[in-house]
């Protein structure tokens, strides 16, 4: 008690002169509110670009939205839009397609990116040039990449079918066969996003401490053993963040699919984002599109939160 009393008294004594200055108007208002002023732009941006649209989205999700002269009119429909989403076969398909897309591209991108990073982190000649070349796909706009691949995949004029014909194989309907088209487009995403994974993991590998490797070498550990017991655990936190980033980006897949097949053949590549877009801007059903968007956001937030809590729990700093 005595300690507390002493400390409070000390605080009071320390605060006295400042309070006195403030009372007499010595500290300008902006200095007194500096903390608020510094965060104010961020708060304003957050309100304008995140909170207001989210409120509008939720409002629309429970409404039929009518575009009428003089403004948007909303008619409350309760949970109708959500009930419709649960029964809509197009949405069921879109969930499956999105899951397939996320799992396949994230897995391939992480495995290939990790492989490349390990390869180039070794003493490979010309690794600087390789690393520079690998960055090119990242800086290319997705639409330009999609158009280039669209030509490459063309049944009649495309380079892939030309090469197949040169070795005596039948041409493939890369983008028009419902069994193949989705995977053809996944390949484009893998081509463009793998260098991103590579770049992060390459930097992480180069910054790993050397001591564990020296100890492992003294103990005579093999390459695979070193990778499994030293490299992978040390890379763990970065790897898990990379997986999360790729997962989120892959779940939002839109541009490449839209440019290359607009979700086709038929609707075989309608991901969730493409389905939402189609409902909003082809059918102009903003209420239903908002409900789908809301559900999609909730799922993403829940999955992301669980992942972060579970996966990164082992790497959290111990409580002091």
């Amino acid at each position: 008690m005595a300690t507390i009393g002493t400390s409070l008294e000390t605080e009071e004594r320390e605060l006295e002169p400042r309070d006195a200055m403030a009372a007499s108007g010595g500290i300008p208002w902006w200095e007194r509110n500096l903390a608020w002023l510094l965060v104010a732009p961020t708060i304003v941006l957050l309100i304008v670009f995140a909170i207001v649209p989210t409120i509008m989205l939720v409002r629309f999700a429970f409404s039929q939205v009518l575009l009428q002269r003089g403004g948007i009119k909303t008619v409350g429909v309760g949970f109708d839009n959500f009930a419709r989403a649960l029964q809509d076969p197009l949405v069921h398909d879109a969930v499956g397609i999105t899951l397939r897309w996320v799992v396949v591209v994230t897995t391939l991108e992480v495995l290939l990116g990790l492989g490349l990073a390990l390869l180039l982190a070794g003493n490979v000649r010309g690794r600087g040039i390789f690393a520079s070349l690998l960055i090119i796909p990242i800086i290319m706009p997705p639409v330009a990449v999609s158009v280039a691949w669209l030509f490459a995949y063309d049944y009649t004029f495309g380079i892939f079918n030309y090469l197949l014909e040169q070795v005596g194989l039948a041409p493939v309907r890369w983008l028009s066969d419902p069994a193949i088209a989705l995977y053809s487009m996944m390949a484009v995403d893998v081509w463009q996003a793998t260098p991103f994974v590579f770049l992060l993991l390459y930097a992480a590998i180069l910054s790993l401490p050397r001591d564990p490797y020296e100890a492992a070498a003294i103990d005579g550990a093999g390459r695979w053993h070193v990778f499994r017991t030293v490299t992978l655990p040390l890379l763990g936190p970065v790897l898990l963040v990379v997986v999360l980033l790729r997962f989120i980006d892959a779940a939002r897949a839109f541009d490449k699919i839209y440019v290359m097949t607009r979700g086709g053949p038929g609707t075989s590549a309608y991901t969730m984002t493409l389905t939402i877009y189609n409902e909003a801007f082809a059918k102009f059903d903003f209420g239903y599109a908002s409900a789908l968007s809301f559900l999609f956001q909730i799922v993403m937030i829940v999955v992301g939160t669980i992942y972060v809590k579970r996966a990164l729990a082992d790497y959290s700093a111990p409580a002091e």
Binding site: Q68, I72, L175, P178, G266, S268, F281, K283
Partner: protein, 449 residues
Amino acid sequence: MQDESIAKDGGASRLNRRTLLKGSAAAGAAVALGPISKRSAFAVPAYLQGTNIVFAITNDNAPQVQPLLDDYSKKNNVSIEVQPNPYAGLQQKLTLALTQGTGDYDVVSMDDPWMPQFAGGKFLMNLQDLMDKKGIKPDPDFIPELLALGDFPKGTGLRGIPWVGNVQVFAWRKDVIDDLKLETPKTWDDVLAAAKAITDAKSASGLYGIGLRGIAGNDAATSFLPVLRGFGTDLFNDKWQPQLETDAAKKALDLQLALAKLAPPGVENTGHPQNGRNMYSGITAMSGDIWPDQLLQIYDPSVSKVVGKVDIGAEPAESGVKPANMTGNWLLGVPEGSQSADAALDFILWFTAAEQQKRLLMDQSIPATRTSVMQDQEAVAKFPFLPGLLAAAKNALPRPRTPSYNAVEAVYGQYVAQAIAGQVSAADALANANKEITDIMVKSGELKQ
């Protein structure tokens, strides 16, 4: 006014020699340039002077119309700010801007299926009213069937004036038809038989019997609608009840699916540009979904392998059904909320005049909406298909004139595409489309249940 301002500024002190020289030079230039420009600087109405017109148009059309816009700007002391957008982007932006009356645009270029939504909702100014105030009547030179596209609801006055006379036609390779000793198809069953004969005989050498579009939405819908109509039905009856669960619709989709099997590989992912390319590259021998921009490529020796080998005509129709083509015109309108409505109208009337229409046709290969231009001897010499196109335009039908057409098209275009891709059966596609379209029409209040 000048005397008054001079007096207020303290007598003649501001009227110095430099001012006089400048004024004389400007007057001299105006007198010299007057006969060259149609409207001298002094004849330009006050509402045009220094006005800024914001013009929303497609990416493809923007560079094509720029020379005309430059001329109009110079002649009228008007600046025109062009806002180009891809097709889907333009539709989305106009839907939001027009319905909300943002006043973002003064002149908008619109595909004719959008007119019922934009004109029906009164999101566009009534050009007829604006013209009446100035004592201007619609020029009878416009092809009546195309001018009527801007009058929605019918009889309420023009809210759009057509400037691109697009009409969908049936096109066929007469050399291939002759080579295989086939008759020119008149019905869709004839088309199927001819397509089968051609694909069987020529696919090994890279020629297929038919070309059509299979991408979900507008593409698949636009290829299917003429077939549906050719079987004697339409998307709706006169009470706006969907007609996709009828025998005629079933026959039409079965035929479309049979045709898709005879089309070049990749039909599921074929859109408008690819369908045209297949025709002018000599990959397809027939298509019921050819538009004037594609005809221009077919007749262009620099890109086409089939110059002079393609004929066009009305869409095939089963016996007893009147053959018809489909319009896909582009119209100009003035959104409600525009602050430069008079200037916008002046621009639209100038832009759609015969002189400008001919320039667009001759220089930019944009089909005209005026009879005199489509019959112009110089134009016909350059584009021999113009008489056929004019005949098709006079016999053309628009897509169903409902404000909900965009949503309706997205639905049946999706199911037709799914059927072509083998995702659903024809019967399920039609039943699902019919149900969803019914829901849309009930929700919009156009159909009472």
